[in-house]
């Protein structure tokens, strides 16, 4: 078999690319050794996974392990991720590294809203995933996914740098499956604006105002023996109460779905 670059290229073309490209792409003879043919998705995703800049944003203990991951022993630069950007406008990935408190969550949601698409969120550690050891605390949000969508969860308290790297590689896998023709961020009005949580007597999500009103001011259906207390204390809901709240939830969803 003749062993010239041109032959190799023809072999590659026949094995690596899809069939219909063979006939449509004409490569001049003198360029045959210098051209590689692949899909646009592959290039697009390869460039995005190889330079995914994280937001320079540490919350708690897990941030220390994030710094250790970026430092010389674990060397995040191998994945093109050593450029941590302090500005949300320049970053692709938000690593929520630690406990999300109620006082902090408006700032996190605001930063998430400021990030440009395509944006990804990685919840690092037990606290960011679901509240972790501090879940029962009065100032702790039980998981950042109650407010913003999360792509990858990395468990651990704190996760080791190896675990974080594994999570990042999982995220790379997710990115590699996306297609430029179908991704949402090139379409109109698809980037979702998350309403900023408000610090009231306790933190509340503006999307849930109606639900909260039902509970604090509304019909007796949702009130229980605790109504005499100054604060509404948690109690297991009865089936009637649950049905009523489902109605409220459905009303809210119907309202949201209508165009503004």
């Amino acid at each position: 078999m003749e062993d010239s670059p041109a032959t190799n290229f023809q072999d590659l073309k026949s094995t690596q690319t899809q069939n219909y490209l063979h006939d449509t792409i004409q490569v001049p003879d003198d360029l045959q050794a210098n051209v590689m043919v692949t899909t646009l998705d592959k290039v697009y995703n390869w460039s995005r996974t190889s330079s995914m800049w994280p937001l320079l944003f540490g919350l708690a203990c897990c941030a220390i392990e994030m710094i250790a991951t970026a430092a010389s022993r674990f060397d995040l630069a191998r994945f093109g991720m050593e450029v941590m950007r302090p500005s949300p406008r320049q970053s692709d990935l938000m690593i929520v590294s630690g406990t999300v408190t109620k006082k902090m969550v408006p700032a996190i949601v605001r930063i998430y809203n400021q990030m440009a698409e395509p944006r990804y969120v990685l919840a690092l550690g037990a606290c960011a995933t679901g509240g972790g050891p501090f879940k029962e605390g009065y100032n702790v949000v039980s998981g950042i996914d109650t407010y913003i969508p999360v792509d990858v969860y990395v468990p651990g308290c704190p996760p080791t740098p190896e675990a974080l790297i594994y999570g990042l590689l999982k995220l790379h896998k997710k990115v590699e499956r996306q297609s430029i023709a179908k991704v949402s961020w090139y379409k109109k009005n698809t980037s979702e604006f998350i309403p900023i949580p408000v610090l009231g007597p306790d933190v509340f999500d503006p999307r849930q105002v109606e639900m909260i009103r039902e509970y604090t001011l509304g019909a007796g259906a949702v009130r229980g023996p605790a109504a005499a207390e100054v604060r509404v204390l948690p109690q297991l809901l009865t089936a009637d109460q649950k049905a009523h709240l489902e109605q409220v939830r459905a009303r809210y969803l119907a309202k949201v779905k209508q165009p503004a």
Binding site: R73, P86, A107, V141, P201, Y215, V230, V232, L237
Partner: protein
């Protein structure tokens, strides 16, 4: 370990000239408390300031270590002890001149009453009184700016009160009896229709809610600050007609070492006033700690100052050992000291690297400084199973013995690698021109002011005060080792950098001796006891953590859970000095001043 029947603390509520200090401040001391554990004096609220002034000026108790509060409304021994008032404000005073133990003062007030603020005598009470107000709702009369520091203005209720229940409240104390009920498990989220960890007052309308405006003391330019100060950098604005503005840094800002916020009023680039704002990582250690059993709190202490989990373990273990009279075997004492000093080296190298980061030498110096840290973390992982959150110490020793070959690895680190890397940092940084230009004479505050502001640790040793708890009130077996307390007179950023390098060298000295002398034998004296009930009483124990004085205040009412669990966090209290140290310098210097205090937000907000 003691499991004796509790003896009721002796309380005499009659004013008596036989109590100490009543001859100098008549009627000040009205009783005694906790005679069996940590003897305390009960002080009349209206005489508190006079007594504090006397203690500071005449008895040289110049350092207010801790201000905290206990809500005695659910105290099991209350009827016996005869406490009528609900709240008990607790003060611990030390002397940086004499060293030695503390004076423990209790001021009791019923609900609704206020306590005179100690800020006029000890300015360092500022943030701690704000914290007590935030969590207990006690008003301090005469406090310059009493505000909610950890939570926010408008938060409903005072969460550390015993009758305040959080949204996911199950039972008063762990272990929960109904964890596996017959009718099946439930999710906390199902208890509340919105499925999140929040509750709202009855009758509250979220649509008409307006967040109250919190008064931050930089909203007006202060009189007499800035131009007429004696500091050298001030007055550069000249005759231009300028206007001062407020700049907000944080909570998401690369210079703030986490989620921390600074509000600075600046004119040109000169800082006129600066105020810290915190609470963005307030994780309710104390509320959760009072639901936990005594031992369950040990892994939580790891997460206070998450760079130095071993030091935090040590402080908490010592506090409970003092409360319950637990003996520690000889070998365990050595292991503890080895771990604490390795932690100190890690912390100081980390902090040196990040001071340079704040100076603008991004990343590279920090990478050099934390290179050896990974090797020390490997040593920690070998003994405890975890790199960062070691959870290694127990009451009465450490949880498991050193693995085979560990001592040789540690000796190699201590004899060969650590001295070299410290010398290397010294060579790279100390003579550096930019380091000198940015560090020398910046962030000055006198030793007297620092002590008055309750600042501790490397900060005061860089101001020439040779005060180190390892020497002033030795704990563990520190009195057996030969080491020095390095001090530097300058009290500027450069001195704060260099003192950490010198202290790390002293730690290496202690490590060499400890690794040489460590005996064999038992490593844990209480192997078979997981729950126990310390006798009624209280204890306040502090250790020289790498960031400063780390104290644990615990109150027991002879139950399996702490009645009160309070952490005196050095990072939090050292922030008292942030404003005074930054005023008069440039805004870029304020960032380095913060870096040189060396805070960790897990400890600031707890």
């Amino acid at each position: 370990m003691t499991e004796l029947v509790a003896e009721a603390p002796v309380v005499e509520q009659t004013a008596d000239a036989a109590y100490p200090y009543n001859n100098v401040v008549p009627g000040a001391v009205i009783g005694r408390w906790a005679e069996g554990s940590d003897p305390a004096l009960v002080v009349a609220p209206d005489k508190l300031i006079a007594l504090l002034t006397h203690l500071r000026d005449q008895e040289s108790y110049d350092f207010l270590s801790s201000v905290t509060c206990v809500d005695y409304s659910a105290y099991a021994g209350k009827a016996r002890a005869g406490i009528k008032e609900r709240f008990d404000t607790v003060y611990h005073l030390y002397s940086t001149q004499k060293g030695g133990g503390h004076i423990n003062l209790h001021v009791r007030v019923p609900e609704g009453d206020s306590v005179p603020s100690a800020t006029s005598v000890y300015p360092g009470a500022n943030l701690q009184e704000c914290e007590v107000y935030d969590l207990y709702g006690i008003k301090f009369e005469g406090h310059p700016n009493l505000r909610r520091v950890l939570l926010w203005e408008g938060f409903n209720g005072y969460p550390m009160r015993k009758d305040w229940k959080e949204a996911y409240f199950e039972e008063e104390n762990k272990p929960f009896k109904n964890r596996h009920p017959a009718e099946g498990y439930f999710w906390h989220e199902d208890k509340l229709p919105w499925g999140s960890n929040s509750t709202y007052p009855e009758g509250w309308d979220p649509e008409s809610w307006q967040t109250p405006i919190s008064y931050v003391p930089v909203s007006q330019a202060p009189e007499g600050l800035g131009y007429d100060s004696e500091k050298s950098n001030v007055g550069a604005v000249g005759e231009l007609d300028t206007q001062s503005i407020v700049v907000n840094l944080g909570p998401h800002h690369p210079s703030t070492h986490g989620v921390f916020r600074m509000l600075a009023r600046i004119e040109g680039e000169t800082v006129l006033a600066l105020e810290p704002e915190m609470g963005y990582l307030h994780r309710n250690h104390e509320k959760i700690g009072e639901r936990n059993t005594w031992l369950m709190n040990m892994p939580f202490t790891d997460r206070l100052d998450y760079i130095n989990s071993m030091s935090n373990n040590l402080g908490y273990a010592l506090a409970i050992e003092k409360l319950a009279n637990i003996e520690v075997p000889e070998r365990a004492n050595y292991i503890r000291i080895i771990m604490a000093e390795l932690t100190r080296v890690v912390n100081h190298m980390w902090s040196i690297g990040f001071i340079l980061n704040d100076l603008g030498a991004l990343q590279t110096p920090a990478l050099y400084a934390i290179e050896e840290r990974e090797m020390i973390l490997d040593l920690f992982e070998a003994v405890s199973g975890s790199r960062l959150m070691c959870n290694y110490m127990r009451f009465g020793g450490v949880v498991r013995d050193l693995p085979a070959g560990w001592l040789e690895k540690a000796k190699y680190m201590v004899d060969t690698r650590l001295p070299n890397v410290l010398d290397e940092l010294d060579r790279l940084i100390t003579g550096n021109e930019i380091m000198m230009a940015r560090g020398r004479g910046v962030g000055y505050l006198s030793a007297k002011d620092l002590i008055a502001l309750s600042v501790s640790g490397p900060m005061i040793r860089a101001a020439g005060v040779p005060y180190d708890i390892r020497k002033a009130q030795p704990y563990c077996i520190y009195d057996r080792f030969d080491f020095d307390i390095p001090t530097l007179p300058e009290s500027d950023i450069f001195a704060r950098y260099y003192i950490r390098l010198l202290e790390a060298r002293e730690s290496v000295k202690i490590l060499k001796q400890a690794l040489r002398d460590i005996p064999g034998g038992e490593f844990l004296s209480t192997r078979d006891k997981y729950t126990f009930r310390p006798t009624e009483g209280e204890a306040y124990v502090r250790v020289e953590a790498p960031k400063g004085e780390l104290g644990f205040y615990v109150v027991s009412d002879n139950k399996a859970n702490p009645y009160r669990y309070h952490v005196r966090a050095p990072s939090f209290i050292n922030l008292n000095a942030l404003g005074p140290m930054s005023v008069g310098y440039k805004i870029a210097d304020a960032v380095v001043v913060l870096g040189a205090i060396d805070i960790v937000l897990g400890e600031v907000d707890r």
